[in-house]
């Protein structure tokens, strides 16, 4: 019991240290700025004329800003890795990795690193999207559009509560960011190249797309486009639960792969 407590203490302390390193940095602010620009680009690409702006609502504008696939929505995947793709490699080269493992042990370091990367990726996306929501609210936009909303993009949730809709979409975007960041971290452990690990998530995304076409995957629940940027099933609540479970599972599996690789490199 005492040993277990000690282990959790080490993990918690390491997470705090890693989070401190990630959040209190210029890159974190840069990341928020990049994400705000990304949101603006996605939203602006859906403006066709002045009349569109007059019809715009917080729900539809927010949706366009975070999931406009005909603009740059998919670039969320490499953007969130800017903060972390260098961190694993920098830790290794500066011997921080070796000393941290010596101090807290391999499982604690890896758990802390994966948690810190996932949490800070989630936080940065959550902050950027919340800033957007507040900006839209201050612009005096109506909450919902005047026309009836279809059963897509979690709009059924927005019919009941706009706040719930925004929270669901922010959680899904944040988990997408966490998955992408942990993927980049894991890939970095294999390739030892920051730039390659930065575009890794985007490659995996398109590779999955190709595999889904070749294997003729029948369900939207396994298509990354639907999971990351839209609603995979007709029921929005089930879609949200499915998408979050899917992304958390993949993130945990990637975290385990990262720990395995770091352990293999350090002890062989």
């Amino acid at each position: 019991m005492n040993h277990e407590k000690k282990h959790y203490y080490k993990v918690t302390r390491s997470v705090c240290v890693e989070l401190h390193r990630a959040i209190l940095s210029g890159t974190f602010v840069l990341e928020i700025v990049l994400l705000l620009a990304w949101e603006f680009a996605n939203f602006a690409a859906s403006i066709y004329d002045l009349s569109w702006l007059k019809q715009a609502s917080i729900v539809t504008t927010f949706d366009a800003a975070v999931s406009n696939l005909s603009a740059l929505a998919r670039l969320l995947l490499p953007i969130v890795t800017v903060l972390f793709s260098w961190s694993g490699e920098t830790d290794r080269r500066s011997r921080y990795l070796a000393s941290a493992i010596q101090r807290v042990g391999l499982p604690a370091y890896c758990a802390a690193k994966v948690l810190a990367v996932a949490l800070s990726a989630m936080l940065v996306v959550f902050l950027a999207e919340t800033i957007l929501v507040f900006a839209l609210m201050f612009s005096g936009m109506p909450l919902r559009p005047w026309y009836p909303m279809d059963n897509c993009q979690y709009y059924l949730i927005a019919r009941k509560s706009v706040i719930s809709f925004i929270i669901v979409r922010e959680v899904i975007s944040s988990l997408t960011a966490a998955l992408s960041a942990v993927f980049a971290l894991t890939l970095g452990a294999f390739l030892h190249n920051a730039l390659a690990s930065m575009i890794g998530p985007l490659i995996a995304y398109y590779a999955w797309d190709v595999a889904a076409f070749i294997l003729k995957i029948p369900s939207n629940g396994l298509l990354l486009d639907c999971i990351f940027f839209s609603q995979p099933f007709p029921d929005p609540v089930f879609s949200a639960v499915w998408s979050t479970t899917f992304m958390i599972t993949l993130t945990v599996l990637l975290g385990k792969l990262y720990a395995w690789k770091v352990g293999k490199d350090e002890y062989t």
């Binding site: 680009a41 602006a44 690409a45 403006i47 066709y48 004329d49 002045l50 702006l53 005909s70 603009a71 740059l72 998919r74 670039l75 080269r93 390739l191 190249n193 730039l195 390659a196 930065m198 575009i199 890794g200 985007l202 490659i203 398109y206 590779a207 797309d209 190709v210 076409f213």
Partner: protein, 281 residues
Amino acid sequence: MKVLSCCKINLMQWHINPKYAMVVAYLAFYMWTLTHGFVQFSRDMGYPVRPWLFPVFPSSVNLFVPVYLSYPVLISDAPFRNSHQQFVLLRLGKRNWILGQLLYLLVLSLVFTILMWLLTWMFLLPRLEWGLDWGKIIITSAYEHLADPYGVMTIMCESIENVKPLAATAWVFFMMVSVNFLLGEITLLCNLWSKKGLGAVLTVLLILMPFIIWVLAASPYAITKLSWLSPVSWLDRTMLLHSNQNKPSFLYAAIMTSVLNLLLATVSVGTIHKCNLDTEE
């Protein structure tokens, strides 16, 4: 010969550095997503596809920019100073070394352009037929947008109007090589003379400019004058020679990129002797 060997050393890095393979993989998967639908569309229509998607691709700015954003990954560490380069520098001298780097950037520009050209028709092979016209599939896709449900790239009708496919391909090919080289030179000079990373940021901004122009052109705050300052926009033929809209001409685009390329190359070679070249990892 010394310049060639310096260029060859950089080319040998392609085996070692995984970023090159990653970029090729990204381009291949992305282009497959954009083009494979044409095969089914062509089967359903009963006509073959012509290999002329390359010259119309830059007009679909929202699809072209994400592809082109992979180019800064290849050039972001120009002039490619790693631990081996110090010995190369000692043997070749600064002048030959920078000429070798410029030659490598030119080769890289050419290879990237050829790869893009190949990937625009490679996945169409089951239904591909060579011919000097645009072909029914591309024309139908551009004017009727019948291919849209197949998930293929959007073809702007303006991009195939009043031009032969071969001429359009030649233009985009020449401009892509020139612009790639220009972006490489900008990154190289920024990395030599200022903070590392600035070159990559500038290059990314230049690549994003066509998207910004596209977004703002659709909004009430149009600033089409930006197209005069955006070399990447000059790949898109529809952005050129619209005198009534005050857009740059073909001659302007060609001369501007050539002059800038020459100027930046001269600056690189002329100032390299003053540069402190510490080895970088």
